[in-house]
Symmetry: C2
Subunit: 315 residues, 2 copies
């Protein structure tokens, strides 16, 4: 049985797979035009290289493992027609993203930017007025795997966490829950407002003037979800008006962020080039999800595979 | 009964004290030459303004509350002779210091300095190779109130914590303990090495060439204790040799750090001007310690007062 990897993994990872599954013939680091495409039962891919043409040639294909969270680039209609199960690596981003968000929140509170600037001038100046996370309040838009992880860490710092999703149903590591409709009433109390929402019809343009205007003039806003959560010009105007006080943005309407975007030069904005989910342990963690699923596949227990993607909903 | 404050507190804090203790005559924001010095039973001070002369004039003095951790500037011999109990605000620094240390550790791991520099150049570059705290190891030199708090937070990030004190006796939020003698053997495994040690005969010059040389070439070293933990030139040489990889320093041999110190200009050093313990909530927390102690004092239960300082040992 052939398992085709459309990307490279490390040699020790190849060895581990071969040792763990001696009955399988692995083909690593191949291109979609590889002849083995026609014989492979399993394809392991980042997703973007699977188009309808590739799918049609993969006559023996019975499972697609996508080593990414989004599957929107794949021909989901055709995959559904053929009844091919798809699994992804949902949840894999939670550690690097939550650690990165905490880094930015704490750096803002402790004014590390000012510390660095003073050092550049060899200036010893103790008038750095940091603030504390302890006893502050944070709103997390999208308390799923990533949002709950940031909630868990914030709670360790003594922060009261407010989760916000469409329905207001309970989520892990949230002290309180609200629905999208409750945002304007809750925002005036929040010291930190974080979005990790995906892009869906319900979230696109969710935040408008009335939401930013309801924020504290000391609030920090972070968007690590998707750039279409608001019109960027609305956010820029809000930041110019001082509500929120500052923003850390990892996602944008257009990426890469155009060189002439005013966001680059705004004193109260941190531009992060969509790197918060990056991790040196990405493939290691993908394989941690892949291997038990491969075992289930070999045992004929496809229903027990984790991280199944519904090709109808697309996630 | 007169209680003399040698510093200013906020109006609402004055009101709170008067309401809580109507039987007491509080004098706020006074200087040591105030006539009330002679009648006051209790003095609340930051410590440095109590010299032998002040002490001699305070004939009625029965308790000194020092709103600081160190009491080394006070005339402890004379205080002991008169049998005057002293209390301090030990533990008050743990939240601002632990939050600040986490800010620096995460900022280093996630390369926020690089993010900021790229933004200065309006440069979208995703080649930022951050590393993770999860599953890393941290050594905490001095796992007391502050060190345990940093241990607690690091454990929430999935860091394995190693406490190090003179005896190796167990401390809170430490997965393992070692004694000063075990340092050279343990340092090669540590990703983060933190000191919050005070300055005592045992800690002065504790770290030498052999300790820095034993560190990983990827290790981050933080000193938020006292600057005499090592000879600064030894640390500078170690950083030039790449072990540790980088340092964040809040304390120095000489403070303010002289303008010609090479530390200011070193790429792998962050100079923080001894501000990690600063907090907007300093007085609030001092009063949280003071008020129950004042109640105990009024009840004649001096032995129940918290944070008693031993004038013999000086802490």
């Amino acid at each position: 049985m052939d398992v085709l990897f459309l990307f490279r993994i490390r040699e020790h990872q190849e060895e581990m797979l071969k040792k763990e599954f001696p009955e399988i013939h692995f083909l690593f680091d191949r291109k979609p035009d590889d002849p083995a495409l026609e014989t492979s039962e399993v394809i392991v891919t980042y997703g973007a290289d699977i188009d309808e043409n590739v799918l049609d040639r993969a006559k023996n294909l019975k499972w697609i493992m996508v080593a990414s969270a989004g599957v929107e680039q794949m021909p989901l209609g055709r995959i559904r027609e053929r009844g091919i199960p798809v699994t992804n690596v949902r949840g894999i981003h939670k550690t690097p993203m939550a650690e990165t968000m905490l880094a930015h929140i704490l750096a803002y509170r402790k004014k590390l930017g000012v510390v660095y600037e003073q050092q550049d001038r060899s200036e010893w100046n103790q008038k750095i007025r940091g603030t504390e996370l302890l006893d502050s309040k944070a709103l997390i838009l999208g308390p799923g795997a990533i949002g709950s992880e940031i909630g868990r860490l914030l709670q360790a710092f003594g922060v009261r966490t407010y989760g916000c999703n469409r329905s207001g149903r309970q989520a892990e590591h949230m002290d309180e829950m609200i629905s999208f409709g409750g945002l304007v009433d809750t925002l005036p109390e929040m010291d930190t407002v974080i979005s990790v929402l995906p892009s869906t019809p319900e979230t696109r343009g969710l935040l408008g003037h009335e939401h930013f205007g309801a924020m504290k003039d000391s609030a920090l806003f972070l968007n690590f979800g998707r750039g279409d959560l608001y019109e960027e010009k609305v956010l820029i105007e809000a930041l110019e008006n001082g509500r929120p006080a500052a923003a850390v943005l990892d996602v944008f309407e257009t990426e890469p962020l155009p060189a002439d975007s005013p966001l680059w030069k705004m004193e109260n904005v941190t531009v992060s080039p969509h790197v918060s989910s990056h991790s040196g342990r990405y493939i290691e963690r993908s394989l941690d999800i892949f291997m038990p699923n491969l075992r289930a596949y070999l045992d004929g227990s496809i229903d027990e595979m984790e991280n199944r993607v519904d090709p109808e909903r697309g996630y």
